[in-house]
């Protein structure tokens, strides 16, 4: 059973200060368009993530505006310059106003 709003963020396991890293994130969400009907013929109302905010060590670094045209269980991959240690937080807000958040720590490896 899928839990709406369950989210994961993936960052490289070893990061050196100044690296250009790739960040991948997934959030579980049906992303219903409002155009489909259920098996018993009832219309399924639109229900989707519409707003994504990426914050890195207290600074907003990206903001995405989505529609139900994004596939279900949205994934997104982007780059980031890892120039300081701190939390990388992604916050997803859906069209019903529910907010989901996940955080990955950006820490520099000592080796």
């Amino acid at each position: 059973m899928m839990t709406i709003g369950e989210a994961r963020i993936r960052v490289p396991s070893k990061i050196q200060k100044g690296d250009l890293i790739s960040v991948s994130a997934i959030v579980q969400h049906p992303m219903d368009t409002g155009f489909f009907r259920s098996a018993d013929g009832q219309p399924i109302p639109a229900y989707f993530i519409k707003d994504v905010t990426v914050t890195y060590a207290g600074q907003q670094v990206a903001h995405f505006m989505w529609t139900s045209g994004i596939s279900r269980d949205p994934v997104v991959t982007f780059t980031l310059i890892a120039d300081r240690e701190g939390p990388l937080t992604i916050r997803w807000v859906d069209n019903k106003g529910a907010a989901f958040e996940q955080t990955a720590q950006i820490a520099f490896s000592t080796t």
Partner: protein, 167 residues
């Protein structure tokens, strides 16, 4: 059949062939990294009033030039519910004074063509985005970026959709 000893037709033919080869190679060099999608299409026409209004609202009268941004999508999408999108702008600067500030994705023949917008910042280091979208039917897809200095760059992909992913 007037051959001159200096320029036999065979040599002339080889020269022309070489010139064409060089021209083709140069053409390829100007469009690096195109693995998917078509290579030399003209800009797609604006298909309807809805898309025209979206472009007008976003960019006003600023010219939308083709280049700098690379949109990669499959040529054929078997399942319109999950179509991968890659957008990159490897040669556009991402520094505090000069950077890509937004990316817009428009799918001409989707029920809601203005599918997504991404506000980005120099903290990202470069523009490289990957995600997955739904597509209703075969159409052009437009990836359009705006820079901090107001330039507008675009790339287009024609995607053939086998299974409607929008209902």
């Amino acid at each position: 059949m007037s051959r001159t000893p200096e320029e036999p037709p065979r040599r002339e033919f080889l020269k022309q062939g070489l010139a064409i080869g060089v021209a083709l190679a140069a053409g390829q060099a100007l469009r690096p990294g195109r693995v998917f999608g078509s290579v030399v299409d003209p800009d797609p026409e604006v298909p309807n009033e809805q898309v025209a209004r979206i472009l007008k609202d976003l960019f006003g009268d600023r010219p939308i030039r083709r280049g700098q941004v690379v949109l990669d999508m499959p040529v054929v999408a078997e399942d319109g519910r999950v179509v991968p999108v890659m957008i990159e702008a490897p040669d556009l600067p991402m520094t505090t004074g000069n950077y890509v500030k937004a990316v817009h994705l428009i799918v001409d023949h989707n029920p809601d063509p203005y599918l997504a917008a991404f506000d980005v910042t120099p903290a990202m280091g470069k523009l490289s985005l990957q995600f997955r979208i739904k597509m209703k039917r075969t159409t052009w897809v437009r990836a359009i970026v705006e820079t901090s200095s107001g330039e507008v760059w675009a790339d287009y992909a024609r995607v053939t959709v086998s299974l409607n992913g929008c209902g």
